[in-house]
Symmetry: C2
Subunit: 190 residues, 2 copies
C-alpha cells in the first residue's frame, strides 16, 4: 500500500525522499506517519519497476547533499489508477491496539479497570479536541483530506460514547457476578 501512497504523492508533484516525509507530516500529520525506512526502499523499488523516474539535483543556496528528485512516469500513472479502482481489503477491528487489549480485560485486575478505561476516554477526548482545532487547517487542503478529518472527528465522538456506555455495562456485569465464580467475565471468552 505504501508503494501506491508514495506514487500518489509523486502524482501530485515531483519530490525527493526527504521532502516526501516532510510533506506527509505537514499535510497528513496525525492521520498518517511514515519513516525513511519505508520511503527509500520503496522509491528504489518504484524506480526499478519504471513507475517513477529520477534526476540528481545539486541544490544552490540550501544545505545538504545532492537530492534525488523523483517523477511519476506514464506507466506509474496507469498503475496508480489501477490501484485506485481496486477494491480495498477490509480492516480488522482488533488490529487497533486498544481494542485488542479491550477483549482481554476480563483477565485484568478489576480494581484497576476504572482507571484504565477512564484514561482511554481521556485519550479519545484529547484527540477529539486536537482534531476540532486542526479542522481549519485541513479546509485549506484537498476536499478529500478535509472529509477524512471530519470522519476522524465523528469517529472520536463515537468511540467516547461507546466506551462510556461500555464501562457502565461492564461494571454492571462485574457486580452482577460477584461471588458466583462460574459466570465472571474471566470465564466467558470461550
Amino acid at each position: 500500500m505504501i508503494k501506491y501512497a508514495i506514487l500518489g504523492l509523486l502524482h501530485y508533484k515531483d519530490m525527493h525522499g526527504y521532502r516526501i516525509k516532510e510533506h506527509i507530516e505537514q499535510n497528513f500529520g496525525h492521520m498518517w506517519s511514515i519513516n525513511y525506512g519505508q520511503i527509500y526502499p520503496n522509491l528504489k523499488k518504484l524506480y526499478e519497476d519504471g513507475l517513477i523516474s529520477m534526476t540528481e539535483m545539486n541544490q544552490n543556496g540550501e544545505k545538504g547533499p545532492t537530492r534525488k528528485l523523483y517523477s511519476i512516469t506514464g506507466k506509474g500513472k496507469k498503475e496508480f489508477s489501477r490501484w485506485l479502482e481496486e477494491s480495498p481489503e477490509k480492516p480488522m477491528l482488533l488490529r487497533d491496539p486498544f481494542l485488542m487489549r479491550f477483549v482481554f480485560y476480563g483477565f485484568g485486575d478489576n480494581n484497576r479497570f476504572d482507571e484504565i478505561i477512564d484514561n482511554q476516554v481521556k485519550r479519545y477526548e484529547n484527540d477529539l479536541k486536537r482534531r476540532i482545532k486542526n479542522l481549519k487547517k485541513w479546509n485549506k487542503n484537498s476536499i478529500y483530506v478535509r472529509l477524512i478529518a471530519e470522519l476522524g472527528i465523528n469517529l472520536n465522538e463515537m468511540f467516547i460514547t461507546w466506551l462510556k456506555h461500555s464501562k457502565e455495562e461492564i461494571l454492571k456485569d462485574i457486580s452482577d457476578n460477584t461471588g458466583t465464580e462460574m459466570k465472571t467475565g474471566k470465564r466467558r471468552i470461550t
Copy 2:
C-alpha cells in the same frame, strides 16, 4: 502485539497452534484474522522466553500428528498484565486501505467516481448486515467481545452516513470547479 494476543488466549485455556487459529476464527471471525506463520514463530518465542510451557500430547482417536500443548506460566501472566495496562499506540486513520485511496481520489477518473463510492457504500452495508446478524452469536461470548461487536455496528453505520454525505460534497465540488482548471480537486492536495 500478536505475542500478547496469543498469551491472552492461552490465559483463557491451554491450546496448541492449530487450535489457536480455529479458536480465533470461531470466536473473533471478521474482527481478527491470524496466520500459522504468525502463530508458530510466536509460540516458539514465548516458550523460549519462559512465558508459556509445553507438553507434547499423542492424541487418541483424533486425526493428525502429535500436538504441542502450551500453557501460560506465572511469568507469562505477569507479563500479560503489564501489557494490558500499558497505554496503547494511536491507530492512524490512513492505514485503512479504503481511506488511503480516498485521499487520492482527486487523481482518479471523475466518470468512475460514482461507481467506486457506491461500491464502497455497498461493502459497508453488507458488513453491517452481517454484523447485525451475528450479534446473537457474540452475546453468548464474553461481554467484552459483545461490546466490540456493538462498536463494529456503530462504526459501519457511521461510515455509511459519512460516505454518502462525502459523495454529495465531492460532486458539488466537481461541478463547482468544472472548467476553471485552477481549483479542481486534483490541484488542491498541496
